[in-house]
Symmetry: C2
Subunit: 144 residues, 2 copies
């Protein structure tokens, strides 16, 4: 059985793709019963769409794969703490578990909407936090 | 020059379409310099996608119409107070004005994320509140 570190590595591979496309490097995967059912990375610049965060696309793709709206048997892995928008979507989807890597003090949901998640959603923080943070820092440093 | 009531009526027409499709009746339009550049209604059931709220689709469509991510010259009209997810999207889009009809005590952003919006976004509440509320009440009554 694969563990949180394994799936976060998969999310990091998605984030790396985003970086290579000039996007803020955030990646996500959705796992249902030990199978990855959706992979996505941030595409806000490519799609000219502020809603195209990795998590939003992963939720849409996972629902599509499952044929149902709810992810109550799924874990969403994302390299960076979700923003308010994504936390709201994670709540609507009744996601069973949320696992994220780096925190986001500026835009993360914990600051602006600490109760935004569904009360039953289990949250795990800091998985591969160094790798997730480094990818973000390298990206923003290269943009300066 | 059309006013907020006129544009909210257009959003109500979208909400009515949602009701006819068996969707929770929420409608939205985006107006830029006195022109409607996007119309949308809730499609969560039809698309099997919790992210398919009227506002999310309206923001995506408006950005597409403008060829740019930001709505800082636009007003988003929506028949019901946005949820946390949609408020987050409205913030990312740097929407200049948000006008909504009915409040939503259970799911509205004001309760869970009162600071979710961009600080520069002007908010107007209660436009055609009776019509917007009635559409929601009638819908949920018919579902019982």
């Amino acid at each position: 059985m694969a563990d949180d570190t394994y799936y976060m590595k998969q999310a990091l591979m998605e984030a790396q793709k985003a970086a290579e496309e000039g996007e803020v490097p955030v990646g996500a995967v959705v796992v249902c019963r030990d199978r990855i059912i959706a992979r996505a990375h941030n595409l806000t610049e490519t799609l000219t769409d502020v809603t195209a965060h990795a998590e939003m696309q992963a939720i849409t793709a996972a629902a599509n794969a499952l044929g149902g709206k709810y992810l109550n048997d799924c874990t969403l892995y994302v390299t960076v703490e979700p923003c308010v928008m994504c936390a709201g979507a994670i709540a609507w989807a009744q996601t069973r578990r949320l696992v994220f890597g780096a925190g986001d003090e500026k835009r993360g949901y914990q600051k602006y909407a600490p109760n935004a998640l569904h009360p039953k959603t289990e949250v795990v923080k800091g998985v591969l936090v160094d790798e997730c943070t480094r990818l973000m820092k390298d990206f923003f440093r290269s943009k300066r």
